[in-house]
Protein backbone atom coordinates (compact mmCIF):
# COMPACT_ATOMS: atom_id res chain seq x y z
CA UNK A 1 0.00 0.00 0.00
CA UNK A 2 1.34 3.40 -0.94
CA UNK A 3 1.37 5.75 2.04
CA UNK A 4 -1.37 8.35 1.86
CA UNK A 5 0.62 11.53 1.33
CA UNK A 6 -2.30 13.76 2.32
CA UNK A 7 -2.45 12.17 5.75
CA UNK A 8 1.30 11.74 6.23
CA UNK A 9 2.09 15.38 6.85
CA UNK A 10 5.71 14.77 7.73
CA UNK A 11 6.33 12.06 5.17
CA UNK A 12 10.01 12.13 4.20
CA UNK A 13 10.47 15.64 5.54
CA UNK A 14 12.10 14.80 8.89
CA UNK A 15 14.83 12.20 9.36
CA UNK A 16 16.79 10.52 12.12
CA UNK A 17 20.38 10.94 10.93
CA UNK A 18 22.40 9.94 13.99
CA UNK A 19 21.99 7.33 16.74
CA UNK A 20 24.35 5.79 19.28
CA UNK A 21 24.86 4.72 22.89
CA UNK A 22 27.39 5.98 25.45
CA UNK A 23 30.91 4.50 25.34
CA UNK A 24 30.35 2.01 28.16
CA UNK A 25 27.06 0.41 29.20
CA UNK A 26 25.84 -2.03 31.78
CA UNK A 27 27.60 -1.73 35.14
CA UNK A 28 29.62 1.49 34.94
CA UNK A 29 30.22 2.79 38.49
CA UNK A 30 33.07 5.08 37.38
CA UNK A 31 30.86 7.29 35.18
CA UNK A 32 28.08 9.72 36.01
CA UNK A 33 24.79 10.57 34.33
CA UNK A 34 26.13 13.59 32.42
CA UNK A 35 29.05 11.57 31.06
CA UNK A 36 26.56 9.11 29.58
CA UNK A 37 24.59 12.00 28.04
CA UNK A 38 27.68 13.63 26.56
CA UNK A 39 29.34 10.45 25.26
CA UNK A 40 26.12 9.40 23.57
CA UNK A 41 25.57 12.91 22.14
CA UNK A 42 29.07 13.07 20.65
CA UNK A 43 28.78 9.53 19.29
CA UNK A 44 25.38 10.18 17.70
CA UNK A 45 26.51 13.49 16.17
CA UNK A 46 29.61 11.75 14.78
CA UNK A 47 27.34 9.03 13.38
CA UNK A 48 25.42 11.79 11.57
CA UNK A 49 28.52 13.63 10.37
CA UNK A 50 27.48 16.65 12.44
CA UNK A 51 28.95 18.43 15.46
CA UNK A 52 27.72 20.14 18.62
CA UNK A 53 27.93 23.47 16.77
CA UNK A 54 25.14 22.27 14.43
CA UNK A 55 22.68 21.58 17.27
CA UNK A 56 20.02 24.24 17.78
CA UNK A 57 17.34 22.23 19.59
CA UNK A 58 17.89 20.11 22.71
CA UNK A 59 15.49 17.51 24.11
CA UNK A 60 16.15 15.46 27.21
CA UNK A 61 14.71 14.06 30.44
CA UNK A 62 15.91 12.50 33.66
CA UNK A 63 18.93 14.74 34.32
CA UNK A 64 17.47 16.38 37.42
CA UNK A 65 15.34 19.51 37.66
CA UNK A 66 15.57 21.60 34.44
CA UNK A 67 17.22 18.72 32.58
CA UNK A 68 17.92 20.60 29.34
CA UNK A 69 19.67 23.42 31.24
CA UNK A 70 21.91 20.87 32.94
CA UNK A 71 22.73 18.93 29.79
CA UNK A 72 23.15 21.95 27.47
CA UNK A 73 25.65 23.60 29.82
CA UNK A 74 27.59 20.34 30.23
CA UNK A 75 27.72 19.97 26.43
CA UNK A 76 28.69 23.64 26.03
CA UNK A 77 25.75 24.54 23.78
CA UNK A 78 23.11 27.27 23.91
CA UNK A 79 20.06 25.88 22.12
CA UNK A 80 17.26 28.11 20.82
CA UNK A 81 14.61 25.43 21.32
CA UNK A 82 14.33 23.40 24.51
CA UNK A 83 12.08 20.53 25.66
CA UNK A 84 12.40 18.70 28.97
CA UNK A 85 9.17 16.69 28.60
CA UNK A 86 9.56 14.05 31.29
CA UNK A 87 6.76 11.48 31.49
CA UNK A 88 8.80 8.35 32.15
CA UNK A 89 10.32 5.93 29.69
CA UNK A 90 8.18 7.17 26.80
CA UNK A 91 9.68 10.68 27.02
CA UNK A 92 12.38 10.24 24.37
CA UNK A 93 9.94 8.76 21.88
CA UNK A 94 7.68 11.78 22.42
CA UNK A 95 10.71 14.05 21.99
CA UNK A 96 10.94 12.76 18.41
CA UNK A 97 7.44 14.04 17.65
CA UNK A 98 8.23 17.36 19.33
CA UNK A 99 11.56 17.68 17.50
CA UNK A 100 9.97 16.78 14.17
CA UNK A 101 7.28 19.43 14.72
CA UNK A 102 9.90 22.06 15.58
CA UNK A 103 11.95 21.20 12.49
CA UNK A 104 8.85 21.10 10.26
CA UNK A 105 7.82 24.52 11.60
CA UNK A 106 11.22 25.90 10.67
CA UNK A 107 12.11 26.75 14.27
CA UNK A 108 15.26 24.61 14.28
CA UNK A 109 17.42 22.65 11.84
CA UNK A 110 19.14 20.04 13.98
CA UNK A 111 17.58 18.41 17.05
CA UNK A 112 19.63 16.47 19.59
CA UNK A 113 17.80 14.11 21.98
CA UNK A 114 19.95 12.77 24.81
CA UNK A 115 19.51 10.23 27.58
CA UNK A 116 21.77 9.07 30.40
CA UNK A 117 21.00 7.32 33.67
CA UNK A 118 22.92 5.32 36.23
CA UNK A 119 20.11 3.25 37.70
CA UNK A 120 22.46 0.46 38.75
CA UNK A 121 25.19 2.57 40.35
CA UNK A 122 22.88 5.15 41.97
CA UNK A 123 22.24 2.81 44.88
CA UNK A 124 25.93 2.82 45.82
CA UNK A 125 26.21 6.62 45.53
CA UNK A 126 23.06 7.09 47.62
CA UNK A 127 21.36 9.07 44.86
CA UNK A 128 17.79 9.61 46.00
CA UNK A 129 14.71 10.62 44.08
CA UNK A 130 13.27 14.08 44.63
CA UNK A 131 10.76 14.06 47.49
CA UNK A 132 7.07 14.17 46.54
CA UNK A 133 4.84 16.96 47.86
CA UNK A 134 3.01 15.14 50.68
CA UNK A 135 -0.30 16.70 49.63
CA UNK A 136 -0.10 15.12 46.17
CA UNK A 137 -2.65 12.33 45.59
CA UNK A 138 -0.05 9.57 45.18
CA UNK A 139 1.56 10.53 48.50
CA UNK A 140 -1.79 10.52 50.30
CA UNK A 141 -3.61 7.63 48.68
CA UNK A 142 -0.97 5.23 47.31
CA UNK A 143 2.24 5.51 49.32
CA UNK A 144 0.69 4.51 52.67
CA UNK A 145 -0.31 1.16 51.13
CA UNK A 146 2.92 0.21 49.38
CA UNK A 147 6.17 1.68 48.21
CA UNK A 148 7.36 -0.32 45.30
CA UNK A 149 7.41 1.68 42.09
CA UNK A 150 6.90 -0.08 38.77
CA UNK A 151 6.93 -3.70 40.02
CA UNK A 152 3.90 -2.85 42.18
CA UNK A 153 1.83 -0.96 39.66
CA UNK A 154 2.54 -3.09 36.60
CA UNK A 155 1.85 -6.27 38.61
CA UNK A 156 -1.66 -4.99 39.43
CA UNK A 157 -2.35 -4.36 35.75
CA UNK A 158 -0.96 -7.74 34.71
CA UNK A 159 -3.06 -9.58 37.31
CA UNK A 160 -6.24 -8.03 35.92
CA UNK A 161 -5.20 -9.04 32.39
CA UNK A 162 -4.62 -12.61 33.56
CA UNK A 163 -8.01 -12.65 35.30
CA UNK A 164 -9.91 -11.15 32.38
CA UNK A 165 -8.23 -13.00 29.51
CA UNK A 166 -6.54 -16.06 31.00
CA UNK A 167 -3.06 -14.86 30.14
CA UNK A 168 -0.52 -17.26 31.71
CA UNK A 169 2.92 -17.09 33.34
CA UNK A 170 4.17 -19.35 30.54
CA UNK A 171 3.03 -16.88 27.89
CA UNK A 172 4.78 -14.03 29.70
CA UNK A 173 7.92 -16.18 29.96
CA UNK A 174 7.86 -16.69 26.17
CA UNK A 175 8.71 -13.00 25.83
CA UNK A 176 11.62 -13.16 28.31
CA UNK A 177 13.10 -16.16 26.48
CA UNK A 178 12.63 -14.77 22.96
CA UNK A 179 14.11 -11.42 24.00
CA UNK A 180 17.14 -13.20 25.49
CA UNK A 181 17.71 -14.94 22.14
CA UNK A 182 17.99 -11.53 20.49
CA UNK A 183 20.35 -10.34 23.25
CA UNK A 184 22.60 -13.33 22.55
CA UNK A 185 23.09 -11.83 19.07
CA UNK A 186 23.92 -8.34 20.42
CA UNK A 187 27.51 -7.85 21.70
CA UNK A 188 26.36 -4.81 23.71
CA UNK A 189 23.70 -6.74 25.66
CA UNK A 190 24.35 -7.30 29.37
CA UNK A 191 22.60 -10.69 29.69
CA UNK A 192 23.69 -13.15 26.99
CA UNK A 193 23.42 -16.58 28.61
CA UNK A 194 20.75 -18.93 27.24
CA UNK A 195 17.41 -18.79 29.05
CA UNK A 196 14.50 -21.27 29.15
CA UNK A 197 10.83 -20.95 30.01
CA UNK A 198 11.52 -23.06 33.11
CA UNK A 199 14.31 -20.69 34.17
CA UNK A 200 11.82 -17.82 34.12
CA UNK A 201 9.08 -19.77 35.92
CA UNK A 202 11.48 -20.99 38.62
CA UNK A 203 13.02 -17.57 39.31
CA UNK A 204 11.89 -16.03 42.60
CA UNK A 205 8.77 -13.91 42.96
CA UNK A 206 9.33 -10.16 43.10
CA UNK A 207 5.70 -9.03 43.07
CA UNK A 208 3.16 -11.64 42.06
CA UNK A 209 2.40 -12.17 39.16
CA UNK A 210 6.01 -11.23 38.25
CA UNK A 211 8.96 -13.54 38.65
CA UNK A 212 12.41 -11.94 38.78
CA UNK A 213 12.95 -12.79 35.10
CA UNK A 214 9.71 -11.06 34.09
CA UNK A 215 11.38 -7.81 35.21
CA UNK A 216 13.77 -5.60 33.26
CA UNK A 217 17.40 -5.01 34.16
CA UNK A 218 18.64 -2.01 36.11
CA UNK A 219 21.82 -0.73 34.44
CA UNK A 220 23.97 2.33 33.70
CA UNK A 221 23.81 3.68 30.13
CA UNK A 222 23.13 6.61 27.85
CA UNK A 223 21.90 7.11 24.31
CA UNK A 224 21.28 9.91 21.84
CA UNK A 225 19.70 10.50 18.47
CA UNK A 226 19.91 13.39 16.00
CA UNK A 227 17.11 14.58 13.72
CA UNK A 228 17.13 17.07 10.88
CA UNK A 229 15.23 18.18 7.79
CA UNK A 230 15.18 16.41 4.43
CA UNK A 231 17.48 19.10 3.04
CA UNK A 232 20.13 18.77 5.75
CA UNK A 233 19.79 14.97 5.78
CA UNK A 234 21.27 14.82 2.26
CA UNK A 235 24.62 16.03 3.63
CA UNK A 236 24.70 13.59 6.53
CA UNK A 237 26.99 10.57 6.72
CA UNK A 238 24.42 7.80 6.60
CA UNK A 239 21.12 7.17 4.85
CA UNK A 240 18.17 8.85 6.56
CA UNK A 241 15.56 7.06 8.64
CA UNK A 242 12.27 8.86 8.03
CA UNK A 243 9.73 9.79 10.69
CA UNK A 244 6.58 8.65 8.86
CA UNK A 245 4.04 8.81 11.67
CA UNK A 246 3.82 9.60 15.36
CA UNK A 247 1.39 9.71 18.23
CA UNK A 248 1.48 10.36 21.95
CA UNK A 249 -1.01 9.95 24.77
CA UNK A 250 -1.34 9.80 28.52
CA UNK A 251 -4.35 8.68 30.50
CA UNK A 252 -3.62 8.79 34.26
CA UNK A 253 -0.97 8.98 36.97
CA UNK A 254 -2.35 7.12 40.01
CA UNK A 255 -3.35 3.57 39.18
CA UNK A 256 -6.83 4.01 40.66
CA UNK A 257 -7.50 6.47 37.83
CA UNK A 258 -6.29 4.23 34.99
CA UNK A 259 -9.32 3.97 32.68
CA UNK A 260 -8.75 0.28 31.81
CA UNK A 261 -6.15 -1.81 33.65
CA UNK A 262 -5.81 -4.22 30.72
CA UNK A 263 -4.54 -1.85 28.02
CA UNK A 264 -2.20 1.14 27.65
CA UNK A 265 -2.40 4.61 26.06
CA UNK A 266 -0.78 2.98 23.01
CA UNK A 267 -4.38 2.20 22.03
CA UNK A 268 -4.59 5.97 21.38
CA UNK A 269 -1.08 6.88 20.22
CA UNK A 270 -0.71 3.75 18.07
CA UNK A 271 -3.66 4.23 15.70
CA UNK A 272 -2.70 7.89 15.24
CA UNK A 273 0.87 6.98 14.26
CA UNK A 274 -0.30 4.27 11.83
CA UNK A 275 -2.89 6.57 10.29
CA UNK A 276 -0.39 9.39 9.85
CA UNK A 277 2.11 7.07 8.18
CA UNK A 278 -0.59 5.45 6.06
CA UNK A 279 0.77 1.96 6.65
CA UNK A 280 -0.85 -1.28 7.83
CA UNK A 281 0.34 -3.51 10.66
CA UNK A 282 1.26 -6.36 8.34
CA UNK A 283 3.66 -4.05 6.48
CA UNK A 284 5.81 -3.48 9.59
CA UNK A 285 9.13 -5.37 9.44
CA UNK A 286 10.44 -4.85 12.97
CA UNK A 287 8.83 -3.80 16.25
CA UNK A 288 10.61 -2.19 19.22
CA UNK A 289 8.43 -1.69 22.33
CA UNK A 290 9.24 -0.90 25.93
CA UNK A 291 9.58 -4.10 27.97
CA UNK A 292 9.88 -2.92 31.56
CA UNK A 293 8.20 -6.24 32.27
CA UNK A 294 7.29 -9.14 29.99
CA UNK A 295 3.70 -8.01 30.46
CA UNK A 296 4.46 -4.48 29.18
CA UNK A 297 5.54 -5.90 25.83
CA UNK A 298 2.57 -8.29 25.65
CA UNK A 299 -0.10 -5.69 26.40
CA UNK A 300 1.57 -3.14 24.12
CA UNK A 301 1.27 -5.50 21.13
CA UNK A 302 -2.46 -5.65 21.86
CA UNK A 303 -2.82 -1.89 22.40
CA UNK A 304 -0.98 -1.12 19.16
CA UNK A 305 -3.32 -3.47 17.30
CA UNK A 306 -0.90 -6.22 16.25
CA UNK A 307 -3.43 -8.56 17.86
CA UNK A 308 -6.78 -8.14 19.59
CA UNK A 309 -7.17 -7.31 23.29
CA UNK A 310 -6.59 -10.48 25.30
CA UNK A 311 -4.87 -12.30 22.44
CA UNK A 312 -1.34 -11.20 23.32
CA UNK A 313 -0.55 -14.42 25.16
CA UNK A 314 -1.43 -16.61 22.21
CA UNK A 315 0.26 -14.17 19.84
CA UNK A 316 3.70 -14.47 21.48
CA UNK A 317 3.52 -18.23 22.09
CA UNK A 318 5.80 -20.68 20.29
CA UNK A 319 8.70 -18.19 20.38
CA UNK A 320 7.04 -16.10 17.69
CA UNK A 321 8.96 -12.97 18.69
CA UNK A 322 12.38 -14.71 18.76
CA UNK A 323 14.96 -14.58 15.93
CA UNK A 324 13.42 -16.54 13.04
CA UNK A 325 10.01 -16.56 14.73
CA UNK A 326 8.21 -14.41 12.18
CA UNK A 327 7.55 -11.34 14.35
CA UNK A 328 10.88 -9.62 15.17
CA UNK A 329 10.36 -7.86 18.54
CA UNK A 330 12.92 -6.01 20.66
CA UNK A 331 15.81 -7.09 18.48
CA UNK A 332 18.53 -5.55 20.67
CA UNK A 333 17.57 -7.79 23.60
CA UNK A 334 15.28 -5.18 25.15
CA UNK A 335 15.15 -3.80 28.65
CA UNK A 336 14.87 -7.42 29.78
CA UNK A 337 18.33 -8.51 28.56
CA UNK A 338 20.23 -5.69 26.80
CA UNK A 339 20.10 -2.60 28.99
CA UNK A 340 17.64 -0.64 31.12
CA UNK A 341 19.09 2.31 33.03
CA UNK A 342 15.69 3.72 34.13
CA UNK A 343 13.81 5.33 31.24
CA UNK A 344 14.51 2.95 28.39
CA UNK A 345 12.67 4.66 25.50
CA UNK A 346 15.84 6.08 23.92
CA UNK A 347 17.17 2.61 23.18
CA UNK A 348 14.07 1.67 21.17
CA UNK A 349 14.91 4.56 18.83
CA UNK A 350 18.57 3.59 18.47
CA UNK A 351 17.74 -0.04 17.64
CA UNK A 352 14.98 0.84 15.16
CA UNK A 353 17.35 3.25 13.39
CA UNK A 354 20.08 0.61 13.17
CA UNK A 355 17.68 -2.04 11.87
CA UNK A 356 16.37 0.29 9.16
CA UNK A 357 19.95 1.11 8.15
CA UNK A 358 20.87 -2.58 8.03
CA UNK A 359 23.62 -2.19 10.64
CA UNK A 360 22.65 -4.98 13.02
CA UNK A 361 24.97 -7.79 11.96
CA UNK A 362 23.87 -11.19 13.27
CA UNK A 363 20.56 -9.86 14.56
CA UNK A 364 19.68 -7.89 11.41
CA UNK A 365 16.09 -8.36 10.27
CA UNK A 366 16.36 -9.02 6.52
CA UNK A 367 15.36 -6.08 4.33
CA UNK A 368 13.80 -4.07 7.18
CA UNK A 369 12.08 -1.02 5.70
CA UNK A 370 9.39 -0.14 8.24
CA UNK A 371 9.66 -0.12 12.04
CA UNK A 372 7.11 0.50 14.79
CA UNK A 373 8.44 1.95 18.06
CA UNK A 374 6.43 2.36 21.26
CA UNK A 375 7.69 3.80 24.53
CA UNK A 376 5.71 3.46 27.76
CA UNK A 377 6.14 5.57 30.89
CA UNK A 378 4.83 6.01 34.42
CA UNK A 379 2.36 3.38 35.64
CA UNK A 380 1.38 2.40 32.06
CA UNK A 381 0.46 6.10 32.03
CA UNK A 382 2.06 7.56 28.91
CA UNK A 383 3.02 6.32 25.47
CA UNK A 384 4.74 7.58 22.37
CA UNK A 385 4.40 5.63 19.13
CA UNK A 386 6.44 6.14 15.96
CA UNK A 387 6.42 4.62 12.52
CA UNK A 388 9.91 4.91 11.04
CA UNK A 389 10.92 4.01 7.51
CA UNK A 390 13.94 3.56 5.25
CA UNK A 391 14.06 4.25 1.52
Amino acid sequence: MTPDKEKAGWLKRIAIVGADESDEMGIVPHKGVLQHHSEAALNALDDAGLSLADVDGLFTAGAGFAATLQVAEYLGIQPRYTDSTSVGGSSFVMHVEHAAAAIAAGLIDVALITHGETGYSNRFRKVSRAAMDPWFPAAQFEMPYHVGGPPSTYALACMRHMHQYGTTHEQLAEIAVATRKWAMLNPKALMRDPLTIDDVLSSRWITYPFHLLDCCLVTDAGGAIVLTSVERAKDCRKKPVWVLGSGEAHTHWTLANMPDLTTTPASISGPRAFEMAGVRHEEIDVVEVYDSFTYTALVTLEALGFCKPGEGGAFVSGQRTAPGGGFPLNTNGGGLSYTHPGMYGMFLLIEATRQLRGECGERQVADAKLACVNGTGGALSSTGTLILGAD
Binding site: P134, W135, F136, P137, A139, Q140, F141, E142, M143, P144, Y145, H146, V147, G148, G149, P151, S152, A155, L156, A157, M159, R160, H163, Q164, R204, W205, I206, T207, Y208, P209, T254, L255, A256, N257, L261
Partner: protein, 141 residues
Amino acid sequence: MSNQKYPKPLPTPSPEAQRFWEGTKKHELWIPYCRSCEKSYWYPRDFCPHCGSRDVEWRRSGGKGRVHTFAIHYRAFHPGWTDEVPYVTALIDLDDGVRIFSNLVEAEADLKAIRCEMPVEVVFEDVTDEITLPKFRPVSE
Protein backbone atom coordinates in the same frame (compact mmCIF):
# COMPACT_ATOMS: atom_id res chain seq x y z
CA MET B 1 0.33 3.70 68.54
CA SER B 2 2.84 6.56 68.46
CA ASN B 3 4.23 8.06 65.27
CA GLN B 4 7.74 6.92 66.19
CA LYS B 5 6.70 3.28 66.16
CA TYR B 6 4.88 3.33 62.83
CA PRO B 7 7.56 2.56 60.23
CA LYS B 8 5.69 3.12 56.94
CA PRO B 9 4.86 6.29 54.99
CA LEU B 10 1.95 8.22 56.51
CA PRO B 11 -0.48 10.38 54.57
CA THR B 12 -0.46 14.13 55.20
CA PRO B 13 -4.10 15.20 54.73
CA SER B 14 -4.35 17.91 52.09
CA PRO B 15 -6.92 20.73 52.44
CA GLU B 16 -9.36 19.20 49.94
CA ALA B 17 -9.08 15.76 51.58
CA GLN B 18 -9.55 16.82 55.23
CA ARG B 19 -13.10 15.52 55.27
CA PHE B 20 -11.96 12.09 54.08
CA TRP B 21 -9.28 11.70 56.75
CA GLU B 22 -11.54 13.10 59.49
CA GLY B 23 -14.02 10.41 58.46
CA THR B 24 -11.59 7.50 58.59
CA LYS B 25 -10.54 8.59 62.08
CA LYS B 26 -14.18 8.05 63.10
CA HIS B 27 -14.17 4.76 61.19
CA GLU B 28 -16.36 6.17 58.44
CA LEU B 29 -15.62 6.14 54.72
CA TRP B 30 -16.67 9.32 52.89
CA ILE B 31 -16.43 9.68 49.11
CA PRO B 32 -16.73 12.86 47.00
CA TYR B 33 -19.87 13.07 44.85
CA CYS B 34 -20.88 15.42 42.02
CA ARG B 35 -24.46 16.75 42.28
CA SER B 36 -24.30 17.99 38.71
CA CYS B 37 -23.49 14.75 36.87
CA GLU B 38 -24.57 12.53 39.79
CA LYS B 39 -21.41 10.46 39.95
CA SER B 40 -18.89 9.70 42.67
CA TYR B 41 -15.24 10.35 41.92
CA TRP B 42 -11.87 9.54 43.41
CA TYR B 43 -9.68 11.16 44.84
CA PRO B 44 -11.02 14.21 46.73
CA ARG B 45 -11.09 17.45 44.75
CA ASP B 46 -13.18 20.62 45.09
CA PHE B 47 -14.62 20.03 41.63
CA CYS B 48 -15.83 17.05 39.63
CA PRO B 49 -13.20 15.55 37.28
CA HIS B 50 -16.00 13.98 35.18
CA CYS B 51 -17.79 17.20 34.27
CA GLY B 52 -15.88 20.12 35.82
CA SER B 53 -18.74 21.18 38.10
CA ARG B 54 -17.94 22.71 41.49
CA ASP B 55 -21.32 21.56 42.83
CA VAL B 56 -19.89 18.66 44.81
CA GLU B 57 -20.54 17.11 48.22
CA TRP B 58 -19.39 14.25 50.43
CA ARG B 59 -21.40 11.04 50.71
CA ARG B 60 -20.85 8.27 53.19
CA SER B 61 -19.86 4.97 51.61
CA GLY B 62 -21.24 1.62 52.70
CA GLY B 63 -17.65 0.39 52.58
CA LYS B 64 -18.46 -2.64 50.45
CA GLY B 65 -16.95 -3.56 47.12
CA ARG B 66 -14.97 -6.04 45.09
CA VAL B 67 -11.30 -6.64 44.35
CA HIS B 68 -10.66 -5.34 40.82
CA THR B 69 -7.09 -6.58 40.89
CA PHE B 70 -4.31 -7.35 43.37
CA ALA B 71 -0.60 -8.00 43.65
CA ILE B 72 1.37 -9.97 46.24
CA HIS B 73 4.59 -8.30 47.33
CA TYR B 74 7.39 -10.70 48.22
CA ARG B 75 10.05 -8.01 48.38
CA ALA B 76 9.82 -4.95 50.63
CA PHE B 77 10.73 -1.87 48.60
CA HIS B 78 10.61 0.19 51.81
CA PRO B 79 12.04 -0.94 55.17
CA GLY B 80 8.63 -0.38 56.79
CA TRP B 81 7.29 -3.54 55.14
CA THR B 82 10.27 -5.82 55.77
CA ASP B 83 8.53 -7.77 58.52
CA GLU B 84 5.27 -8.03 56.60
CA VAL B 85 6.18 -9.67 53.30
CA PRO B 86 4.31 -11.12 51.60
CA TYR B 87 1.68 -8.37 51.73
CA VAL B 88 -1.13 -7.60 49.31
CA THR B 89 -1.97 -4.39 47.43
CA ALA B 90 -5.30 -4.13 45.66
CA LEU B 91 -7.56 -1.86 43.67
CA ILE B 92 -11.04 -1.99 45.19
CA ASP B 93 -14.18 -1.20 43.18
CA LEU B 94 -16.52 0.28 45.81
CA ASP B 95 -20.25 -0.24 45.33
CA ASP B 96 -20.43 3.57 45.41
CA GLY B 97 -18.86 3.68 41.95
CA VAL B 98 -15.23 4.57 42.58
CA ARG B 99 -12.01 2.56 42.47
CA ILE B 100 -9.51 3.11 45.27
CA PHE B 101 -6.06 1.78 46.11
CA SER B 102 -5.54 -0.07 49.39
CA ASN B 103 -4.21 -3.19 51.08
CA LEU B 104 -6.10 -6.44 51.40
CA VAL B 105 -5.86 -7.64 55.01
CA GLU B 106 -7.12 -10.55 57.08
CA ALA B 107 -6.47 -12.83 54.11
CA GLU B 108 -3.61 -15.21 53.42
CA ALA B 109 -1.24 -13.71 50.84
CA ASP B 110 -1.98 -16.74 48.73
CA LEU B 111 -3.83 -17.35 45.48
CA LYS B 112 -6.08 -19.85 47.23
CA ALA B 113 -7.43 -17.03 49.40
CA ILE B 114 -7.48 -14.08 46.97
CA ARG B 115 -9.00 -13.58 43.56
CA CYS B 116 -10.21 -10.76 41.36
CA GLU B 117 -13.90 -9.90 41.88
CA MET B 118 -13.98 -11.34 45.43
CA PRO B 119 -16.25 -9.30 47.72
CA VAL B 120 -14.60 -7.18 50.42
CA GLU B 121 -15.50 -4.65 53.09
CA VAL B 122 -13.64 -1.77 54.64
CA VAL B 123 -11.77 -2.12 57.94
CA PHE B 124 -10.12 0.79 59.69
CA GLU B 125 -6.55 0.60 60.92
CA ASP B 126 -5.66 3.26 63.51
CA VAL B 127 -1.98 3.52 62.65
CA THR B 128 -1.26 6.66 64.73
CA ASP B 129 -3.24 8.95 67.01
CA GLU B 130 -3.89 11.18 64.00
CA ILE B 131 -4.19 8.82 61.05
CA THR B 132 -6.53 5.93 60.33
CA LEU B 133 -6.06 4.03 57.07
CA PRO B 134 -8.99 2.32 55.36
CA LYS B 135 -8.08 -1.22 54.29
CA PHE B 136 -10.21 -4.09 53.01
CA ARG B 137 -10.92 -7.66 54.10
CA PRO B 138 -12.72 -10.52 52.35
CA VAL B 139 -16.38 -11.18 53.14
CA SER B 140 -18.58 -14.03 52.00
CA GLU B 141 -20.72 -13.58 48.87
